[in-house]
């Protein structure tokens, strides 16, 4: 029997490369971020002072930051509902077809392959040129809006584009779950006289709950960090109306005033928000798993 000490040493040798990149580029930055958030480090000066919770106190009265938090929460809430309902609807519709399943799936997944920076710029063309053309020449006057310039429409256009990018991914997960629903169960329910609607809510829906959790979790996590689509579509505008938290942090740190310490304090708040949501999510999932 080899000793535990030898086993642990042996383990460390094999884990070392992974551990090294992981600590250097993830764990250490995460830990030192907590420290920097309590300093007045500006990224240029070699020296900085420990200032305790001053950054966090300043943060309380930073209206731009809270504006970005409110925008992000609104964005997350709308994406959770719209992207998931659309994706589930599409998945159910595709699954019910006798033919062309593969073709539809291929088309819907395509936007997910492309970076949202590219997608956002393509849509910018639609919002800047194409919709106006349709409004003027086809008489579709409801399209004649200031899509990217008006606060309300800028939000709608961001959702249109973000959903465009996310639905395909969610659809794939829902499709995989739907294919796992035992056919015998569905047959049994239709023999018992359930119509399609009843059979969906009583048989299919309960069996795809794990996939629903995964999708909600993924949407929450990615939507809270939204950056690419806002950056390329509205640039946070008009004014700062569509600035997300990630953009606010980016601007604080890398554009203009370079207050690294203060920006890390913002990142810490973002991390805590995501951590709380994840903890709640995991608890809910575990409860459901127990039942």
């Amino acid at each position: 029997m080899r000793s535990k000490k030898y086993e642990n040493l042996n383990l460390l040798i094999y884990v070392f490369p992974a551990l090294f990149v992981y600590i250097a580029f993830k764990m250490f930055p995460a830990a030192s971020g907590l420290f920097y958030s309590m300093t007045n480090w500006n990224g240029i000066n070699k020296t900085y002072n420990f200032i305790g919770l001053t950054n966090f106190i300043d943060l309380v009265s930073d209206s731009y930051f809270w504006q970005s938090v409110v925008f992000t929460c609104k964005y997350v809430a709308v994406m959770l509902v719209i992207a998931n309902i659309t994706a589930l609807g599409i998945a159910v519709a595709i699954e019910s077809l006798p033919r062309f399943k593969g073709l539809y799936r291929t088309v819907y997944y395509m936007p997910n392959m492309i970076s949202m920076v590219i997608g956002g710029y393509m849509w910018r063309f639609i919002f800047h040129k194409v919709l106006y053309y349709m409004a003027d020449n086809w008489g579709w006057s409801f399209l004649d809006q200031s899509w990217v310039g008006d606060t309300r429409y800028a939000f709608i256009s961001i959702i249109i584009v973000a959903a465009w990018g996310a639905v395909g991914y969610l659809m794939i997960i829902y499709l995989a779950a739907l294919q796992g629903v035992p056919a015998a169960l569905k047959e049994a329910s239709s023999l018992d006289g359930a119509n399609a609607w009843q059979s969906f809510w009583n048989v299919t829906f309960p069996s795809i709950l794990p996939a629903l959790s995964i999708c909600l979790f993924w949407t929450l996590n990615s939507a809270f960090q939204v950056f690419d689509v806002v950056y390329s579509l509205t640039g946070g505008g008009p004014g700062r109306a569509t600035q997300s938290v990630a953009m606010n942090i980016y601007e604080e740190a890398f554009k203009g005033n370079i207050r690294y310490g203060y920006a890390t304090a913002k990142s810490t708040v973002l991390f805590i928000i995501i951590l709380i949501i994840t903890a709640v999510q995991l608890r809910v999932m575990r409860k459901r798993g127990d039942e």
């Binding site: 383990l11 884990v15 992974a18 993830k26 030192s32 819907y108 590219i118 980016y250 990142s267 810490t268």
Partner: protein
């Protein structure tokens, strides 16, 4: 009953086709307008081009340094994923096969850190990158990506190794195989399905990641496709034919990748999401 079924199919297909139009709309309009002259584009954005003007593409190929930025992107995505697979494969296997408190602790640490969002570590990470002096190095960037992605890959490998019978490894060990030989000759080939999933999801992640290169790369010789497209967008704010051809060029490699590996990609995405 028969007619009911038919109406149902018509409704469902109409819905799906409308959703398909919404999906393809920006791609097709970008493609068709990228072949027009600026005057033609301003005249009618929805018509097909009267003539294919490849000049736009020639102009943007040069302006974006297309081949070199494409090469940079391929290099970064390839090396990142190579390092990630190598490091996390060995580590995930060893962590799964060692049953000590330390291995439990390390594994939980890796798994827990999957929750840390990138935007909350990007500033201190930037400082670390400056500290290593790799701010304009694509190889350095690849190591950063592998550090960010290694915990997820390790988690997937760890779960997969559990399903491989230990007897195989014991037999090989009795035959005189060294541990690393056991891993690369016996275990790694059996991990192929999960390796494919890890490669696909991570290649796409690194390829389409924008924020990290935006922060780290300042030398335009090191730019990735997304960065050079972004710069070009800033330079030609209203020259839409140039912009659209650049967008098509930037999207082209992933579209080709998708066309070739479609089945694997969709399967990989579904597996990666469900297991992760």
């Amino acid at each position: 009953m028969k007619t009911g079924k038919r109406t149902y199919l018509i409704i469902i297909n109409t819905f799906l086709i409308l959703a398909g139009i919404y999906t393809l709309f920006p791609l097709l309009l970008a493609l068709s307008n990228s072949f027009k002259t600026n005057g033609e584009l301003l005249g009618n954005v929805v018509s097909l081009p009267k003539q294919l003007h490849f000049e736009n593409y020639i102009r943007t190929l040069e302006k974006m340094n297309y081949l070199s930025t494409l090469g940079n992107t391929v290099f970064t995505a390839g090396i990142s994923v190579f390092i990630m697979v190598l490091f996390s494969g060995v580590a995930g296997w060893k962590l799964c096969r060692t049953k000590t408190k330390l291995s439990n602790f390390l594994y939980s640490m890796f798994v827990f850190s999957m929750l840390i969002p990138f935007s909350s570590i990007m500033i201190p990470l930037y400082k670390v990158i400056l500290g290593f002096r790799i701010e304009n190095s694509l190889l350095g960037l690849s190591f950063v990506y592998s550090g960010l992605g290694v915990s997820m890959a390790l988690f997937l490998y760890h779960g997969f190794v559990k399903g491989i019978p230990l007897e195989l490894e014991e037999a090989a060990s009795i035959d005189g195989c060294r541990p690393l030989q056991i891993f690369f000759l016996i275990v790694f080939p059996l991990l192929r399905p999960i390796t494919a999933t890890i490669c696909i999801t991570n290649i796409l992640w690194v390829w389409n990641d924008f924020l990290l290169p935006l922060i780290v790369l300042s030398d335009n010789k090191k730019y990735t496709l997304l960065l050079s497209t972004n710069t070009l967008f800033g330079q030609y704010s209203s020259d839409w034919t140039a912009i659209l051809s650049a967008l098509i060029l930037a999207a082209l490699p992933v579209i080709v990748f998708y066309a070739v590996f479609q089945k694997h990609i969709i399967k990989g995405i579904a597996d990666g999401a469900v297991k992760g």
